[in-house]
Subunit: 219 residues, 2 copies
């Protein structure tokens, strides 16, 4: 399958996936675009348009099948193909992700973490081996790694990103707050900007307008 | 100022703010909607439409003034009014946020953190006092708290959310992954879904389509 889907639609797919998972857990079998829109803060027309991008997902007039939707969106996101990941930097944030983040939900298998601290090298955290950062090069030569989760100090980010890219790691999930603007060839950088989320909450708390309305994108 | 702005536009404001900050640091004084669109992966028409929602931001034909844009967007987000925040749960994630997250950039002052561990109660982390969770009730009676950052275990989330709401905390920044579906009156919940970000990166890595294109929302 090869789709030409706009990046804005792609960004909505994970939200749809979460919503369908939730509906399925609530034993909802079928849902109309308008009911779905109401729950997700999207217009029904937007939802129908999104679904049409991928080929429809079922008979509009009769409601969409929730399990089918979940499987279809999961298929488009490629969850049937597991990606491998490593965490670079097992400080507070790295450890929080290793211990609590649901990599499997994203179709990702966490295979190792790296840290410069000799004290924790050789230990395991929630089953994930923590290795000495000095072993990273050799590890990358021996293992196929799709994604590196960057949770190391800012100062180490640029150099490590280049090294990872040179070793064929094609995805960097960047929590460092550093803009990685070097040309990394085929390597994609996905920046996590937590400030966007707090700024949005702050906007509503400051009372400049009412809460998210009908065309909101709150999930 | 009171605007009626759609939630989708609100969600883009933090991205604009970050971009203008970056442009200003790069000493870019003026920028056209098309150049801005190219850097942000948005259509120029989308940008002009967004800016029109808030009253224009300057003379379109001559390019937008970057400092002015930054200040105007900051003003709409209400950054002139500082909000107070507390962190509930000083485990790995809580500590990572306390130590590294730029609350000030979001117009937020972190005034305390709470944890059930007696071992760390009374200590400070990057200047923030860590208090015993048993003192939370009294603290909320004595201090005005706008935002609670929820980084505690899942099992404690629902009860704590109710307690916070009952004490007048109007904003919950929720990292727990728990759906807080109780009716919390005026209290808003902003969920952080890191999986959305990794799923999007995974989509591109799995090669179902090319990288984010012209109407992408990669910043």
């Amino acid at each position: 399958m090869k789709y030409r889907i706009s990046a804005n639609v792609i960004r909505r797919l994970p939200r749809y996936l979460r919503r369908f998972e939730l509906l399925d857990r609530q034993n909802v079998e079928k849902i109309s675009s308008s009911a779905l829109g109401e729950r997700m803060g999207l217009k029904a027309s937007q939802i129908r348009q999104d679904f049409n991008c991928f080929g429809g997902f079922g008979q509009q007039g009769y409601g969409y099948n929730v399990k089918q939707l979940r499987d279809d969106v999961g298929g488009i996101l490629g969850l049937d193909k597991t990606l491998t990941a490593i965490v670079i930097g097992a400080g507070n944030l790295g450890r929080a992700l290793i211990a609590n983040f649901d990599f499997a939900f994203c179709g990702v298998e966490l295979i190792a973490a790296f840290d410069t601290s000799k004290a924790i090298a050789g230990t395991r955290l929630h089953g994930t081996p923590i290795l000495d950062a000095g072993e990273l090069n050799e590890f990358l030569d021996d293992h196929h790694v799709d994604v590196a989760v960057l949770t190391m100090p800012k100062s180490a980010t640029a150099g490590t990103a280049r090294l990872l890219s040179n070793h064929g790691v094609r995805g960097l999930w960047n929590f460092t707050g550093v803009d990685i603007d070097a040309d990394l060839g085929d390597t994609l950088v996905e920046d996590v900007h937590l400030s966007d989320s707090l700024l949005t909450l702050g906007y509503y708390l400051r009372g400049r307008t009412e809460q998210p309305g009908e065309d909101g994108d709150k999930l």
